[in-house]
């Protein structure tokens, strides 16, 4: 998983959705404990780990990972 | 005019307008913001002016300016903002300027919270600012009463040339209740303001409005006049409601929102056969001291209980009124907690069954 959402903090504001260059974030159809529709990414593989979502999220919901590059492992 | 359903804060605004107040200078603060918003919307409609000041300090001094010009003018705030107005209120009082100042009090001290409270009693009744001055303080208990008292506040302000305070709390400010407005008042034109600094055009030598008097003897003279005025107000402007006190053995003293709750508790206690009544000061200054004292001198009155949303402020005035003739108990809640009918009922039981509070 490249992007992980701390779902309970999410307020469904849609900003990550709006700013994801890959347009892969959506608001889920369920409600979280606060009563908001939390953001989620299904197509994790399309994520470029650009962290735009995380930078625009006002509620520090999102952690972004990047797969360690093969090259590095080799070197 | 029929009844309308409005928030208390809005009722204050509309009543002021009906009383001929077309100028309002204010600064937002919860729980009185609806009043500011109401004035912002309504005043331009009646050809008046609403101006949001940069602070409470500024607002009260804009009021000082407008009052100097002889118009009916109002400002409002809530506890911390009211504290900031103290210097200005002292100036208004000293300069004999009429104005109406609303305090929709909230939980304190400090930033506190935005729930209702009555812990600004001292601040408004004892002259929270510097120097020997008082301001008449009116404390409505229903929205309909707001209609009457707002108008009265302007009348008293003009008649005695003094700032007048209308004291409420978050409950009164934000609740809705049907009210009926009176027709626009004409009485304001009774007060000629020949002292106002409006430019001398065609009316004689320059006028000055000031509270400075570097000479001690003449400042004392100014103070003497001020005190004389206060004596007249004490004489003329006391307001108090009494409820089921005729045969009461126990009297509860409460004002504003709390008085409403006490009324319900009194009803419940009466149903249970207890002879208890409510004394509701409407003017907190002048305080209905002689009224309360007279009641206390009646043989059957046994005990008084003061209930406040404070740690005990008005109770001092009650004690000063009765000077030990009957014992004065106190029950208070704090920080925005509103006493319930049941709590007060329990306190009444304690009065009767001798448990000391």
């Amino acid at each position: 998983m490249r992007v992980v959402f701390n779902e309970d903090y999410c307020k469904g504001c849609n900003l990550c959705v709006a700013f994801c260059p890959q347009a892969i974030i959506h608001l889920a159809n369920r409600l979280n404990q606060k009563g908001y529709r939390p953001a989620e990414v299904i197509e994790q593989e399309k994520c470029t780990s650009c962290a735009a979502c995380a930078r625009m999220c006002p509620d520090t919901v999102i952690t972004v990972y990047r797969p360690e590059r093969k090259k590095e492992k080799v070197s | 005019m029929g009844k309308v359903l409005m928030k208390g804060n809005e009722v204050i605004g509309e009543s002021a307008i009906k009383a001929g107040c077309h100028y309002f200078f204010g600064y937002p603060i919860t729980p009185q913001s609806e009043l500011v918003a109401y004035m912002a919307k309504r005043l331009p409609e009646v050809g008046g002016l609403f101006l949001q000041a940069e602070s409470e300090v500024s607002a009260i001094n804009m009021v000082y300016g407008a009052a100097s010009a002889g118009v009916r003018v109002m400002t409002s705030s809530s506890s911390p903002g009211f504290s900031l107005k103290q210097e200005g209120i002292s100036f208004l009082a000293a300069a004999n300027l009429p104005a109406v100042i609303v305090n929709i009090a909230r939980g304190g001290p400090g930033l506190g919270n935005i729930q209702p409270a009555q812990s600004d009693y001292f601040q408004v009744t004892k002259g929270g600012g510097h120097g020997d001055y008082y301001t008449p303080v009116l404390a409505p208990s229903t929205l309909q009463e707001i209609v009457d008292l707002t108008q009265e506040a302007f009348r008293i302000a003009d008649q005695y040339r003094t700032p007048v305070i209308l004291l409420g709390d978050g409950v009164l400010g934000q609740m809705m209740e049907p009210v009926e407005f009176k027709e626009t008042s004409e009485e304001m034109h009774l007060f000629e303001k020949d002292w106002a600094t409006t430019g001398t055009v065609g009316d004689g030598p320059p006028k000055t409005i000031t509270s400075l008097d570097l000479n001690d003897v003449s400042l004392e003279e100014r103070n003497r006049k001020l005190q004389e005025k206060y004596e007249t107000i004490k004489d003329q402007e006391v307001r108090v409601e009494s409820y089921k006190m005729d045969d009461a053995i126990y009297g509860i003293v409460a004002y504003g929102t709390v008085a409403r709750i006490v009324k319900s508790a009194v009803d419940r206690a009466r149903e249970a056969g207890m002879k208890v009544g409510l004394i509701r000061p409407i003017s907190l200054w002048p305080f209905p001291s002689s009224y309360i004292r007279k009641l206390s001198e009646q043989l059957q009155l046994n005990k008084l209980l003061t209930v406040e949303m404070s740690a005990g402020q008005m109770v001092e005035d009650v004690r000063l009124s009765v000077e030990g003739i009957v014992p004065v108990h106190f029950y208070g809640r704090n920080g925005g907690v509103i006493p319930t009918v049941d709590e007060i009922y329990q306190e009444i039981l304690k009065l009767k069954y001798g448990v000391m509070v």
Binding site: - | Y23, F25, L49, L51, A53, E54, S55, V57, S58, A59, N61, M62, V63, Y64, G65, A66, A67, S68, A69, V71, V73, E87, G88, F91, A95, T197, T198, G199, T200, V201, G202, P206, K207, T208, I209, T210, S211, L212
Partner: protein
């Protein structure tokens, strides 16, 4: 013989309480003359502030209201907003009053484009209370509260009020003048006149900052004080027009 210079009817005929040589007196005269020349005395309400000029209501020959320390612009706003628009409202404020405790009020009056005239007397000190530092006291200046001289590290740097207020869109006319010699006094009067004329023309907030002396608290005699204005104050507080543009256009 024809009188070429007479006492203005803009001032009440009465002695002032100012110290010998204090230029508050000159500035009073200029304001009085301007109001007389504009035939505006009956239309004017002045606002006295708290400072040595607190008693100015004894001197100006028009209606006067005395404001709390720093609050003259708010009081003037109250007056201006409720009186007929022909009325001219001015404040007369010292630098302690206007630039220290009253900073919020003056900035906001300017930002609101309040159609008033502000006479701002900058004497780089608190005169009335006995010579404490003002926000406009110069670096190195010894005052009752900077006995070793004002130091940037502790007390920061003097505020150039005119320059600061000129950044506000609401401000219409701002000029700094001085009173340290005859030509400058004449210029000061012109500026004051313009500041009142602007108000008549409903152009909005107008302020004249006037460099002034305080011989008593500067510890200089009146002549030396004039020299001090010229040598010390003018370099830090350059004279000139800082703003002359009304967003309200030429009258509204």
């Amino acid at each position: 013989m024809k009188a070429v210079f007479e006492r203005t009817s803009g001032l009440i005929d009465r002695e002032t309480h100012y110290c010998p040589g204090c230029t508050h007196g000159i500035i009073h005269r200029l304001v009085g003359e301007v109001l007389e020349e504009l035939d505006a005395l009956e239309q004017t309400v002045g606002v006295a502030s708290v400072g040595c000029s607190v008693l100015s209501y004894h001197y100006f020959n028009c209606d006067m209201t005395q404001a709390a320390h720093g609050r003259a612009p708010a009081v003037a706003t109250g007056l201006k907003r409720v009186l007929p628009k022909e009325r001219l409202i001015f404040t007369y404020q010292g630098d302690g009053d206007l630039a220290s405790i009253g900073m919020g009020e003056i900035v906001h009056a300017a930002a609101r484009g309040e159609n008033i005239t502000v006479i701002f007397v900058n004497n780089a000190i608190y005169g009335m209370t006995g010579g404490q530092m003002a926000p406009t006291s110069l670096l190195g200046q010894k005052t009752a509260t900077t006995p070793e001289g004002r130091a940037a590290q502790t007390q920061g740097l003097p505020i150039r009020v005119s320059e600061m207020l000129a950044t506000l869109d609401g401000a219409s006319y701002i000029e700094r003048v001085s009173t340290h010699d005859v030509p400058h006094v004449i210029k000061a009067k012109k500026a004051i006149k313009k500041a009142f004329q602007n108000q008549k023309d409903e152009k909005g907030f107008s302020m004249v900052e006037i460099l002034s002396t305080c011989p008593t608290n500067w510890g200089l005699n009146p002549e030396e004080s004039m020299q001090w204005v010229k040598d010390e104050m003018v370099p830090y507080y350059p004279l000139g027009v800082y703003k002359d543009h009304s967003y309200k256009g030429d009258g509204v």
